[in-house]
Symmetry: C2
Subunit: 291 residues, 2 copies
């Protein structure tokens, strides 16, 4: 199962590299900066979930533009997040952050270009295919990544730094900052694959549970992992006085909650007709991940 997922990941890597070349004539430096962060790897969990959801509901075509788009948006958010004015991080996925290599101005523009490019790519595809359903998928991503989604979550997160917040607020931060994009990945895959509205709902809930698991484990790893294993600075939450699940629970309780949510996520998959074994496997692996 893990080998099969590795093949999916490799294919996604190649799709990303083909879709976004790292050189583009006179705009070379911009593309270089975009590609630097986009090629830097990571788990590709969002495009992976999209592709798996797509196939689970019977999708058989190529959805490269959407796989790339969600990873471009995730990547831009990391570039902007790492900026000195934001989290001021020097290391990401084991490499110097974008602004450390290209300077702040280019990093800001590279982030902008990735965000913009995500929509450009999806819209071009939707027009070529003359398919309103693909426009629908692009809209799901726009909502999830926008002011009422991921960016809204980042503002909430910033506003609560160094403050005591309650658990509902923490949940809301995570739901928006991380959960929205992960849920969107699954939602988009279901839409693109022509799922029934029941299946779309079931898969979107699966994605929401997964998003929360992802964040809980993120919080735990930030406190318990090593720089080498994680590929980015550890204890950054503490440094930035961020509220995390560890402000409310100990590590063991965090894992119990994550496991409970994983069970709920997998329960949602019962309402999908096709083969969801890979989606199930991803859900389990998210709880067990070490980076």
């Amino acid at each position: 199962m893990e080998n099969k997922l590795e093949l999916y990941r490799e294919r996604i890597e190649n799709q990303i590299k083909e879709a976004i070349p790292n050189n583009h004539g006179s705009f070379g430096e911009l593309y270089e900066a975009m590609a630097y962060s986009l090629y830097a790897g990571g788990k590709r969990i969002r495009p992976l979930l999209m592709q798996l959801a797509y196939e689970a509901v019977g999708g058989k075509e190529t959805i490269t533009p959407y796989l790339c788009a969600i990873e471009m948006i995730h990547t831009y958010s990391l570039i902007h997040d790492d900026l000195p004015a934001m989290d001021n991080d020097d290391l990401r996925r084991g490499k110097p952050t974008n602004h450390k290599v290209f300077g702040e101005a280019t990093a800001i523009l590279a982030g902008d270009a990735l965000l913009n490019g995500a929509f450009e790519m999806m819209l071009e595809d939707a027009l070529n295919q003359d398919d309103m359903n693909r426009v629908r998928a692009a809209h799901v991503l726009a909502e999830a990544s926008g002011a009422r989604g991921m960016i809204g979550g980042q503002i909430l997160d910033m506003q609560s730094e160094g403050k005591q917040i309650d658990k509902d607020t923490l949940d809301s931060i995570h739901l928006h900052k991380t959960g929205a994009l992960i849920a969107a990945a699954v939602h988009m895959g279901a839409l693109l694959g022509g799922a029934s509205s029941n299946e779309v709902t079931a898969l979107t809930f699966y994605g929401k549970y997964l998003g929360k698991v992802f964040q809980i484990i993120d919080d735990v790893l930030d406190a318990t992992s090593t720089v080498e294993e994680l590929g980015k600075p550890i204890h950054s939450d503490m440094k930035n006085e961020k509220n995390t699940y560890l402000s409310f629970y100990d590590v063991d309780t965090c894992y119990s909650i994550a496991e409970e949510l994983t069970t709920k996520a997998i329960k949602c998959l019962e309402r999908v007709e096709g083969d969801t074994s890979l989606l199930e496997h991803v859900a389990f692996s998210l709880v067990q991940r070490r980076n």
Copy 2:
């Protein structure tokens, strides 16, 4: 004629304020920052051109999401452009720049949210209207504002700061940085209004000429106007060691070139069937503008 355009501008102001509320529950600060720059006025030249092109080719419905979207994208580019890492400007449209009021982190996110929101708004409308032509218009904007358009122009501009460049490079910077979005405004209006492909081409060329005129006059005003008249710092090009048309021509020659381009722009309008008198008037007024 000028009074009529003033009415158009007022209507656009209202459309923007209605479409993007300056408060939104828990994300309040983000929306406040977005609205601060979006409401700050300016000439609204891009939505104005879009609306006029739309009407010239017979458009009769409401295209608010597209008028707002182009102004949101223009506004986000100003917010990011003004950041300390970029042009480091304190004043814009006679008011402190976004990061001076809300801080750098919020300004970066407000810019991101405006860019993202522009696509969210257009896609929502295209889906509601079930209209691929509207998706086409959104795609024109995505191309114009992206890495091969406006953002590409910003990189070229940055790369050439403090360097001697030739006139072709300067033209390319302006074509991308300013021209692309102004041409897109007219192009989108024509598409949304259901223009023939001949008319779309003619109007897009009109927009391209206008974009160049706009930039030439911008360069001249930066060197010859006052802070009070312009509402932003003057001599910023010199301060940032930017190449401008004044690096190649004197003020009189700049005006001659701008007038010649205006004549060419107006010539394009002959190929449009409907009433283009307002578009003609805007073209003239761009050469004569004082801010």
